[in-house]
Symmetry: C2
DNA sequence: TTAGTTACTTTCAAATAACAAGTAACAAGG
DNA sequence: CCTTGTTACTTGTTATTTGAAAGTAACTAA
């Protein structure tokens, strides 16, 4: 079973998992304590529901996220980061540092955490 | 002039610039000393030429890259990272660290540097 | 019975990506 | 000169992905 990736470059491999406009925002929400489909949808960027469903599936397949039943009747699921997922916090923080330095009017992490809670 | 971004979240803003499968590979090549259109095309992931042209334009517009004439007759250009671009090395390194830990058979930075030189 | 909630899936036009081929501006060789 | 080669793109053309809206399933509560 040959794993089919573009190249053995770690950057390319990360981009095969996270290289799009939405995936890392879901990871951000998970890191900030959001766990349900609805909660992700309510974030300020307003991710379309079909894209969200697709990205959650992909993250689960990649072992970044696990899905757990949190309620029977009606059956409802919640999403959690695995250790692999949790360690993306370092990648995210380096991005935040860069953005705060070079992109005007971006909030810092604390402010964002506040925004997502409301 | 209201800047039109999805949200003031630094993660979202970074993804508006780098959130796709190719852009950060061009930045990687630049960090590793590649500077010409042809050199980027020769990297192992084989970026299509129209996508490369588009990404270089976008990176220039975002102030991550500058284009300089390195030869008149025929006129030829080379691309270089600005300070803003160079500081993406920290983001890239955090990705490499994560990939080396969680994605099997990814090379380390030194090996990749070697691959890109040949 | 009707409305509301959550977690999706489906539909479809529009945008984007991938692949192949073409072009411009020269240089070098025969 | 004329052809071949090189670099840096651009232009089609087709394939895939996206995004907005609407629909569905399985309930709960009024």
């Amino acid at each position: 079973m040959t794993e089919c990736k573009r190249s053995p470059c770690p950057v390319a491999c990360v981009l095969d998992i996270l290289g799009d406009k939405w995936t890392l925002l879901v990871v951000r929400d998970l890191l900030f304590g959001k766990h349900t489909f609805k909660a992700f949808q309510e974030s300020p960027e307003k991710i379309p529901s079909n894209i969200l469903a697709d990205r959650l599936k992909r993250l689960e397949r990649e072992g970044v996220v696990v899905r757990k039943v949190y309620q029977e009747r009606p059956r409802r699921h919640a999403y959690y980061l695995t250790d692999k997922g949790k360690e993306l916090s370092t990648v995210m923080r380096s991005m935040v540092k860069w953005a705060n330095k070079y992109i005007p009017e971006t909030y810092d992490l604390k402010t964002i955490r506040g925004m997502l809670k409301e």
